[in-house]
Subunit: 149 residues, 2 copies
DNA sequence: GTATAATTGAGATTTAATCTCAATTATTAG
DNA sequence: CTAATAATTGAGATTAAATCTCAATTATAC
């Protein structure tokens, strides 16, 4: 999804919700869409504090929620239980290394199909889902191996 | 796992970690193991505040972490992003109803096997994992249907 | 039993997130 | 376009969850 259509979608979302289209909201969406990979709300607050036309902390908190509701971003919890956001691109799951904290993304159609089947069996209508696998990534295992642990 | 062996395991864990075996710690484990289903830390704090020999809030927080590290309990996040604990019995995943907040447990060996395979493919050594499926449960769908929504 | 080290509790502190409300800005009606 | 109306913003206060502090207490090792 390119930026242009993201903004169009966001404006429509705001109107559908009866919310005003404000410079601050667009600014924050812009800052969010620029993020590469995973980010924390403090990253956005920092960016918004230091740009030409600053936006306050309170507004960032309020708007991040709106952007999340609009479906542009979602959050997971890091190994330290902190909120970590990411822009939703394709759907994927997460592996989280318990040693280095690295978050690895993966996707499996097989997994999608199986979860759908399980939901059918439980008469549960699935919306979204998330799979988190905690463990130790390849590079941390290599490091441990070197140290003979 | 019966209570007796849980306490034995807990005492061993404490000793292995170089921690003392205290009345407060045992009291809290006891309170935790009595919980049916999902509970919040405030449930334990409340229980510990009103028992014969009260235990402080600070100690409950400290000890819940220890009990979680010992592998007796784990936490997930509710739809309101609150920490919800549960005693670990058999391993299972969660379906969470976005309307009523109900948490449904399920287990699938097929899912376990598939996740193991995916980890192998990514050279990732899995420890634990969790799958959360958000959606609408059967009874909420029925209610919505009645209202013609 | 005594010495040493760990733990506890009460309340202070921290941190993330939310709230308040006057000033500002967007939207709507004319 | 302009005025009236309603929503939003920002600064700082507030809240709530969790952690920290340190003197008093308790467990452990000897």
């Amino acid at each position: 999804m390119n930026k242009e259509s993201a903004f169009r979608r966001f404006k429509n979302f705001l109107q559908d919700e009866g919310k005003n289209i404000t410079r601050e909201r667009l600014e924050i969406l812009d800052g969010v869409l620029e993020q590469k990979g995973h980010f924390k709300i403090e990253d956005i607050i920092g960016k918004m504090r230091t740009c030409k036309q600053p936006v306050s902390r309170a507004t960032v908190y309020r708007t991040i929620k709106t952007i999340e509701n609009a479906g542009f971003i979602k959050h997971i919890r890091s190994i330290h239980d902190e909120k970590v956001y990411e822009v939703i691109k394709g759907h994927h799951e997460h592996m989280i290394c318990e040693l280095c904290g690295k978050i690895i993304e993966f996707h499996s159609e097989e997994l999608e199909a199986l979860q759908q089947k399980i939901c059918d069996d439980h008469d549960f209508l699935p919306g979204s889902h998330s799979t988190k696998i905690f463990g130790i990534c390849a590079s941390c295992r290599k490091k441990s191996g070197e140290k003979g642990i």
